[in-house]
Symmetry: C2
Subunit: 409 residues, 2 copies
């Protein structure tokens, strides 16, 4: 008899976005003429950079010709893309990596969700709270948690509160943890991390032989050059950290799909006999068995975003969204709200007015401003009291939404 | 301390293809002028159908325009592609499925490797021998086996021999098994399965509440209409079977990447409290957490292979490779070799001459004919005594290789 992986049964329903959709649909049914604007979803809206489009079409033509056709590529991805990544994402920050430490993939979500497969079930997982749900759900599925608790947390997982009081910078865990998920610029709070704060985590990991799973999917939105763009800017991080990046938000690839993970050869995990095992080799073995590599035309499109036109177009894209972010930050601040993020991140973390809950403010904004946000409580207990707005809408929608929010407060 | 998943340490090295590459390189070093032809690798060589190329370019242009740009799609894939799949792959065979039973993915290898995540670790896995190594390796990584044995098998996995004596049709397992991997047309033997043989497996699964993981990646090569093209042609299979398909070999997508899994809503796995759980819902939850969906332009390209020109071009592609297969079968047969497969499959399973081993014949062909094959022993103990040739080379290479093999025997 085929028995189910009962860890899946611990998962709570995909409550947050389905509940948002339910409330929005209900509102729209009652107000059929209302033009509802969503600043809730983390999906981009601007077209793909022309350089990427041209790359995709050029590669399509190569696939039509027997002399330039490509079959299976390397599981790890094409060298031509890895080299561009190192040249434009890491070298300018003083970070030196080998091309075979780069693993091209179809998404940072997939990578952050699957990387835990390399580790024993008994490792203790630590996450920020509020948190991108995938880090937790993937570990729950694998069996690294107990049941969900009343507060929406899972027993066995260590949650590290990121609150207004601690400036959204959590303290080091008091209990010992083995796998630490960090995300900077942070989804959902929009917080960034300083060199000295990040060093604390690297030092902790080195002292405790822990691994940091560093999600830097939003790094392209950092405007302040003093903020670390990669965890490898911290000395010793290449012994304890894996970093996840994506073309999704940087270059509008959410529907086109390309990302990469950096797995330095020096990062090790330990067996019960004390032996050390390179995560780079283990991840290669995992990818070779459970992944086929990214489509060749898509890798060409991703590489094209690093051409001189491509970089110019990416900069325009980022500028567009960051202007949206300023419009949200300035508008809401002038309306008397307290807001965080939005200066080095596409996410704005808005404190809800005194006496309201996340969901209460969600309903208020939907009803009074016809604007959809994301209730912070959906990202974890410490997200209560906040809502998330994103800069990924069109300029017109963003301006209109901010203007409506301001007039209803 | 981050502890490694020790199941990974049970994996034997990726011996087969690296050993082939090593021997080929050594030969080439000693014979720098020899033109070595490989009929060993299962990768296609013909260009992508023009309809797919055109679809890819059309979708690229859509991504360049804000009015037609696409961000995140459904994790399960676009409906427009699922509908074409049902219309052209299943309806003509009398199989009726819902679009939400189709899960578009980036590869059948990935799907067959990842689907086991839905099941408890204690399920007993059964595989054919010889076997596509991914079914085994993914289960070893997950912890469903003991150590590798001397013969190259893993303890705890049930291997079902496919031999010349049983016509490459294994018997039902004598012990109880829970998860059964079947692959037809078979890689590596090229065998197909009849309606009545397949019914035995479906009946076994229904009687034992087992699940069949049916890999039909090579179904497009079936020439004989009487051979089942889908396991769902067997009554009751939609209660116990998941089917994996791919555009890789059908339409030359090995470097372009698109595939799909069929997970009927009636297929269930069981919890320890006796409750039933739909694999369709579980797989959707798994994909939503650990996958981002296939690139929109790639899905458009895949759908374009079902247009009238697309289907014509796919037929030409299949005919081309199947002509290669006939050339191999006829040539080698006339040279006195016993061959199997190659009539409804791109794989030809060649019995090695009396007194030779798989690797011995590999070396002989490399040395005497400058042809690379794949030693059957690399696919499992029951593959000893055979080598695999593939029809995926160019016509010229295939003819030349066959002619060389014939003259050296």
């Amino acid at each position: 008899m085929a028995r189910v992986n009962e860890n899946f049964l611990k998962l709570r329903g995909d409550y947050l976005f389905s509940e948002i959709a339910r409330r929005r649909t209900k509102y729209q049914e009652n107000h059929p003429d209302a033009k509802v604007i969503s600043l809730g979803i983390g999906d981009v809206t601007r077209p793909l950079p022309q350089a990427a489009v041209d790359g995709l079409k050029r590669a399509a033509d190569e696939m039509a010709d027997v002399r330039t056709f490509r079959g299976y590529g390397e599981y790890q991805g094409y060298r031509f893309l890895a080299e561009k990544i190192l040249e434009f994402e890491f070298a300018p920050r003083g970070v030196s990596l080998d091309v075979d430490e780069v693993f091209i993939s179809e998404g940072a979500k997939t990578d952050t969700a699957c990387f835990q497969e390399l580790f024993d079930i008994d490792n203790v997982v630590a996450v920020l709270d509020p948190v991108y749900p995938v880090y937790v759900d993937s570990n729950v599925m694998a069996g690294r948690s107990g049941q969900a608790t009343e507060g929406g947390h899972y027993s066995g997982i260590v949650y590290m509160p990121c609150t207004e009081e601690n400036g959204f910078m959590p303290e080091l865990p008091s209990e010992k943890v083995d796998l630490i998920y960090l995300c900077y610029p942070n989804n959902p709070t929009g917080a960034t991390i300083s060199h000295s704060e990040l060093k604390k985590w690297v030092d902790y990991a080195r002292q405790n032989q822990a691994i940091i799973l560093y999600d830097a999917a939003y790094v392209a939105f950092i405007q302040d050059e003093d903020i670390p763009h990669s965890i490898y800017e911290i000395e010793g991080a290449d012994e304890v950290a894996v970093e996840f990046r994506s073309f999704s938000k940087r270059a509008g690839f959410t529907g086109t799909r390309c990302a990469f993970a950096i797995v330095p050869k020096k990062v090790k995990a330990y067996a019960s006999d004390g032996s050390e095992h390179s995560l780079n080799s283990l991840w290669l073995r995992r990818q070779a068995t459970k992944f086929n590599g990214v489509s060749y035309p898509i890798q060409v499109a991703a590489a094209a975003t690093y051409s001189s036109e491509g970089r110019e177009q990416v900069k325009e894209l980022i500028d567009y969204y960051m202007t949206n972010a300023s419009i949200i930050v300035e508008g809401l601040t002038s309306a008397g709200l307290t807001v965080y993020g939005g200066t080095n991140s596409p996410y704005v973390w808005v404190k809800v007015p005194e006496g309201m809950t996340s969901w209460g403010f969600f309903d208020y904004l939907l009803d009074k401003a016809r604007v959809v946000c994301t209730p912070g409580a959906g990202f974890g207990a410490s997200g209560e009291g906040f809502v998330r707005l994103t800069a990924f809408g069109s300029r017109e929608d963003t301006e209109e939404a901010v203007s409506r929010i301001c007039s209803c407060l």
